[in-house]
Amino acid sequence: MSANDEAEDHFTISRVFDAPRELVWKAWTVPDQIAAWLGPKGFAPARVIRHELRPGGVFLSAMKTPDGSELCGKFVYREITPISRLVWVHAFADVNGVLVRHPMNPTWPMELLATVTFTDVGDKTRVTLDWVPLNADEVERRTFKDGK
């Protein structure tokens, strides 16, 4: 498995948080803490179904959709380097962890490789997230690129 290398395939977002790195790291790796903030506005906190913080481990969290059913975000961790780097494969899944297509966008890539880095900026912390389609075909890559 390899990610696409072209810079234009990547989506990157970065922000400095007014908190020490240790605390920010916890917010990304302690299940109840991630569930408290990850996700679009207007949604209730996610329900964490699985959380295995180790390479190959799975983080599965369910969000209630407006019709009451649940859609999950699934991370399969690849790399965990405490307080500096997290890498996982990101996908949509059902509550059993079986990968599903994006419910509203059938040509969305099945899997994205997410890389999050944490660096000190004085006593604050910069978090940078990079997303790139994984094993995506041309149509999926275009769908992802068009969304930027």
């Binding site: 989506f11 977002i13 922000r15 948080f17 007014d18 908190a19 605390l23 920010v24 917010a27 803490q33 408290a36 903030w37 990850l38 996700g39 679009p40 506005k41 207007g42 959709t65 407006p66 019709d67 059913s69 994006h102 419910p103 509203m104 966008n105 969305w108 006593d123 978090v127 997230l129 997303w131 769908t143 068009d146 969304g147 930027k148």
Partner: protein
């Protein structure tokens, strides 16, 4: 909480039968009977699905009581398309929430432990 239009659209799209109905309507208007034909489903069940789609503004229906053809309405779908593509907003939203979460945690800590940062 009153659902916003996007919530209604997403809920309507969350069902495979309703998506199939919309796919059929993308090829032109159709009656309830036409729409029900490919599914092993009673007419009342199909009508129920149509009501959900109608409430979400995804379809409109003719006025005649006997034959009320269904038509696809594209506007809500366009809104969904732009919403799903804006994953930047997903992360901006998440980062906003993370920011206030971290503030809360730190202010609680300061109060709780009388911890003062330099």
């Amino acid at each position: 909480m009153k659902p916003d239009p996007l919530d209604l659209t997403l809920a309507a799209l969350a069902d495979p039968t309703r998506r199939a109905i919309l796919a059929r309507l993308a090829r032109g208007e159709a009656s309830v009977t036409d729409l029900g034909a490919p599914f092993d489903m009673s007419q009342p069940s199909i009508s129920k699905h149509l009501k959900v789609l109608e409430r979400a503004g995804l379809i409109s229906r003719g006025r005649s009581a006997q034959f009320r053809p269904c038509r696809l309405e594209a506007a809500p779908l366009k809104e969904v398309a732009s919403w799903v593509n804006e994953y930047r907003r997903y992360w901006e939203d998440s980062f906003d929430r993370l920011d206030s979460y971290l503030r809360d945690v730190q202010s609680t800590r300061k109060k709780g432990k009388r911890h003062v940062r330099k």
